[in-house]
Symmetry: none
Subunit: 143 residues, 2 copies
DNA sequence: TGTGTAGTGGGGAATTGTGGAGAAGTATGG
DNA sequence: CCATACTTCTCCACAATTCCCCACTACACA
């Protein structure tokens, strides 16, 4: 499964190198879509399928979940690794993520998140300031 | 089972030698991640898996647990012992831990903690000063 | 004093990340 | 239906980092 944090850069064609450790899980195909907090999420095709099924089952009566499903499904694009292990991020996703030159690629268990580097740093320092809360969580989980 | 306290040094490539006593538990693989008080935690891969599963089950909808999961999982790096029994600490973890040249490696039951040597000393004398208080807490816990 | 183990350091090879040039494919306008 | 411009894909090449191996020193134990 995915974990770790990597800083890579996007070239003029919108390509990002996927960390070598992650590649073998994406070889069969992958899907990029809009994630939470203005991040982009990359799922291996298998994970994506089960996720899409779950999304399809959400009650469409609630407008909030309707919006969420739309965001995830309509925002999705399937991507392939090129010979150097890179994927191309479609322009509309780069805009959504506010992505400039530097990006952070983070492994989050069953998905990969792609963040604009500055946004990531901001998010991180924000949550490290709340480390008291975090200690509570650790206790709850018995870690 | 890990216990004891060791002082080692990090070389220019970010490598630290794991105390020989601890190595056999980490041979199958290990994961380093961010711990509390700016320490780093090393878990044997087996321990880590159960931990990661717990994390993966936390609700994504709550922003506080989202941040927590991101910090734990994205902060993690899987490491392997080289032939000399060392692991490489990724740069972002060295920064998080404020790690310079000297580190203290402490065994804490099911995990190993890595501290910057100075921070460790500071933390230790701090808690020794509060040892009375701590003893009180221990009594509450029935120890 | 020899032998083994543990910790430290460094050199060279292989892998990874990055950029760019050319070919193939797609769209647009006449 | 063709020609042109534009985008996308594939391939090649360089630079930097990481990994793997070997060597040295220090200490412990016979």
């Amino acid at each position: 499964m995915f974990f770790g944090e990597f800083t890579h850069s996007i070239d003029s064609k919108g390509r990002v190198a996927i960390p070598a450790k992650f590649r073998k899980f994406l070889e069969k195909g992958a899907v990029v879509t809009k994630g939470l907090d203005n991040s982009l999420s990359v799922y291996p095709i298998i994970e994506w399928q089960t996720l899409a099924e779950k999304l399809a089952k959400l009650p469409l009566t609630q407008s909030s979940s309707r919006a969420f499903v739309r965001m995830m499904l309509a925002g999705a694009a399937d991507v392939e690794l090129d010979k150097q292990g890179r994927i191309v991020l479609p322009e509309y996703l780069r805009i959504y993520g506010g992505i400039n030159k530097k990006v952070v690629i983070a492994g989050i268990y069953n998905r990969i998140e792609i963040w604009d580097s500055e946004k990531w740093q901001a998010f991180k320092s924000e949550s490290e300031r709340n480390s008291g809360e975090i200690a509570e969580k650790l206790k709850e989980l018995g870690i």
